[in-house]
Amino acid sequence: MSDVPTPTQSPQRSRANGSGGATAGKPTTTQLPNAADAEVLAQAQAGDHHAFAQLYALHKRRIYSLCLRMVGNVAEAEDLTQEAFLQLHRKIATFRGDSAFSTWLHRLAINVVLMQLRKKGLSLISLDEAMEPNPEEGPSRSFGAPDLTLTGTIDRLVLERAIADLPAGYRLIFILHDVEGFEHNEIATMLDCSIGNSKSQLHKARLKLRDALRAQNRQEARP
């Protein structure tokens, strides 16, 4: 079917801040590409299909995982991954190297995801809107009495549900930073916001998750 090698091999490079998931060898996004990577990128920009297949192999895992974490549905995540890489194919010649290629590709994929969320009825039109959830969606600022603090063990399903219930903007920042392991400066570039905004949104996301988990604890503590 294919006249190019199947891009099934991911690179075995580690990320200094690698915190995401269970994968040991994530492609780095914070370092400049090495000469071989830069050559592959240049070839793909020139229309070389083999080089594009290599780029796909390099980045497919992270883009697919991001899509899956954002929408929580395998079939949808596959479609979004496909759309993100098709957009990459159409736009790759416009990449000028102002940011790391991986950061640029993530920004592109994030826009694809947000468009999908909008189609599903969420009132998200742009990254700006995703970054500014409705005030009533924000976390409370109340402190917990000691008997309501988390105990150090969090139910996996409860946390998953709490993350899925976050407003899309909070969820995006939380996943990019706490799950994917991106730094705030990278997230700011992806989302076209300030580093301070990225930090603030992340903090609000964590507070909102805490609210949700404490609510669950309260519910379970009821006789």
């Binding site: 796909y56 995982s65 402190f143 917990g144 603090t149």
Partner: protein, 78 residues
């Protein structure tokens, strides 16, 4: 709620929390925390959540069909 020794309110401390968690520094060394049990509890919770989230989602490969669809679409000129 907070002691005056740190000369920082809980709200001011919370504004710095996003920076503190994951910065590599020990957030527990912050003077405000020595005086404020509520902020200590909050910080402990947020660290627990961040650590739990890191282990929550495995990173996974897309199935081979995704590339096949991409390749077909490129060949069609989509």
């Amino acid at each position: 709620m907070n002691g005056d020794v740190s000369k920082m309110s809980c709200a001011e401390f919370q504004d710095q929390m996003a920076e503190l968690i994951g910065s590599g520094e020990d957030p527990n060394a912050h003077p405000h925390l020595k005086e404020c049990a509520d902020c200590r509890a909050l910080l402990a919770d947020l660290k627990t959540i961040a650590e739990a989230a890191r282990q929550l989602f495995p990173s996974v490969e897309p199935p081979d069909e995704v590339w096949e669809h991409i390749e077909s679409a490129i060949k069609r000129g989509d």
